[in-house]
């Protein structure tokens, strides 16, 4: 059973002015109400009181203005950030696509990069070997797969990243605005694969500013505002409300 359960999640962290021998600079005024400063310490509350439940087959869209906490929430879901308070329970094998070129080595070939990424994801060498051809086929990189990664364009990197991340059929797929790169035909393929994952009772969480993409993909929307939930519920309802206004 795949699900994500978030109960009153709060994430705050201290941004320490690093200990340094440098002469202290004139302190700048803090902008916004989410930063509490005390001497050298600034406490940022990135998420506060986040509660929601999503179940198998849900495709959740995360929306909100820049800095509202979308990426932070994705990273909490993935386990990179530990919530300061509250509880988060995710059940299912998760994979994430945050930054397209993350974890790719420039000097290594595409093929070697697939191996390395697979190892990071915890696959065995046999699993990697058995998926290699499918990943290369899906990425349509052809002979480029044996060239160093630094020779790839943005779109090609995106193809490789998406192919690797989705090849193990993750039960939970977390994505952050990845779709900007990649041409139309690949986006079409990617969309189909995402639909397939969702159909197999997986969960997709997608943070994006692209309304039409969200409208096509998501059945639920979570809107964040300054780290708090502004709206959580049915996607159609949210779109109806927001296109009226």
């Amino acid at each position: 059973m795949v699900f994500i359960h978030a109960d009153n999640v709060r994430l705050s962290y201290t941004v320490r002015q690093k200990l340094s021998l440098a002469w202290p600079r004139r302190r700048l005024e803090a902008t916004g109400g989410r930063i509490v400063s005390k001497g050298r310490h600034h406490t940022v509350t990135a998420l506060d009181g986040i509660s929601f439940d999503i179940a198998a087959g849900d495709r959740l869209g995360l929306v909100g203005s820049n800095g509202s906490g979308k990426t932070t929430l994705l990273k909490v879901l993935y386990g990179i950030f530990e919530p300061t308070a509250g509880r988060i329970e995710t059940h299912g094998r998760a994979d994430a696509l945050f930054n397209i070129s993350l974890g790719f080595r420039k000097e290594a070939t595409g093929r070697r990069n697939i191996v390395l990424r697979g190892l990071v994801n915890g696959w065995t060498p046999d699993e990697i070997e058995s998926r290699m051809d499918a990943i290369i086929d899906f990425s349509e990189l052809g002979e480029f797969i044996d060239l160093p990664f630094k020779a790839y364009s943005q779109g090609m990197s995106a193809r490789l990243a998406f192919s690797v991340a989705t090849s193990l059929e993750p039960e939970i797929l977390l994505m952050d605005e990845w779709i900007g790169a990649g041409d139309a035909s690949f986006q079409e393929k990617a969309k189909k694969r995402m639909a397939a994952i969702a159909e197999k009772a997986g969960i997709i969480v997608l943070a994006s500013h692209n309304t039409s993409l969200l409208q096509r993909t998501c059945n639920k929307i979570l809107e964040l505002e300054k780290g708090r939930v502004k709206y959580f519920g049915d996607a159609e309802e949210w779109f109806a409300k927001n296109t009226e206004a």
Partner: protein, 262 residues
């Protein structure tokens, strides 16, 4: 306190399970450094031999010690392993920022990759060391095998150093330069290429109270004198345990916090 120890152990066992990751990345790292060179990692051997040549022919501080070349060769072997490891450890977490912020790999994976990388590099310098020893006219002896427990102790002692220095560099960026300077000076205050003069108070003290001396002796005594380096075992083993006692709570407490300071 107990919780942070438990968290640290969890982190380390998870990293040990992921050994394929850090082994693969460590060999990539070495490969990347020499990718476009003709001689590749042979440069490690050449650099080492050039350094040794300077020690032997320009700065002979052996005071007539027989087999000074071997003395310096074994010393430099361990010293360059440790100093490079420490200098690179200070920037470890900062360099791996993208990975730490983008994946859920246990933090110890980075430390083990660093250790692995240094061990590979040391493997190349061992070749250079053996060349020097054979030119120095020392034939292999069974007592050389006492190097192996020494190596085991060294390998056990370095991961906590990497962890501590990694956090130090993340929380206190200036330490990068402090450590680089300290290591440069360290080469002169550690008996890498000078011998304990016995009668000069300052240098004798530097010899006896410098923990690095004993790390060098782990390799030096079995090869040079065919002796079991018991004191070095004790000092380095004890030091390793102390280092772990510091590194484990740090790791447990900071492994989820460090991401916020990078």
């Amino acid at each position: 306190m107990l919780n942070s120890y438990r968290a640290a152990f969890k982190d380390i066992t998870a990293a040990l399970k992921l050994r394929r990751v850090w082994m693969a990345f460590a060999s990539e790292d070495i490969g990347d450094q020499y990718r476009r060179t003709t001689l590749g990692p042979l440069w490690l051997v050449i650099n080492y031999l050039a350094m040794i040549a300077i020690f032997i022919f320009l700065f002979d501080r052996g005071n007539g010690l027989p087999h000074f070349a071997t003395y310096a060769a074994t010393g430099l072997l361990v010293w360059s392993f440790l100093s490079e490891l420490l200098m690179q450890s200070v920037t470890l977490f900062v360099r791996e920022e993208a990975f730490i912020k983008g994946t859920t790999l246990p933090l110890s994976v980075y430390a083990m990759r660093m250790v692995m990388q240094s061990l590979i590099r040391m493997g190349y310098t061992v070749v250079g060391c053996l060349v020097v020893i054979s030119f120095d006219g020392i034939a292999p002896l069974w007592s050389w095998l006492w190097v192996l427990p020494g190596l085991a102790i060294l390998i056990f002692a370095v991961p906590p150093m990497v962890i501590c220095f990694g956090f130090l560099g993340a929380y206190f960026p200036d330490s990068q330069y402090l450590v680089n300077n300290a290591m440069r000076i360290g080469m002169f205050v550690t008996p890498v290429f000078w011998v304990n003069p016995g009668n000069k108070a300052l240098r004798s003290a530097l010899y006896h109270y410098n923990p690095f001396t004993y790390a060098l002796e782990l390799f030096r005594l079995p090869v040079l004198e065919g002796r079991v380096p018991l004191l070095a075992f004790a000092v380095c083993g004890g030091g390793a345990i102390l280092l772990w006692l510091v590194a484990l709570p740090l790791l447990g407490r900071l492994r989820r916090q460090v991401v916020f300071v990078l």
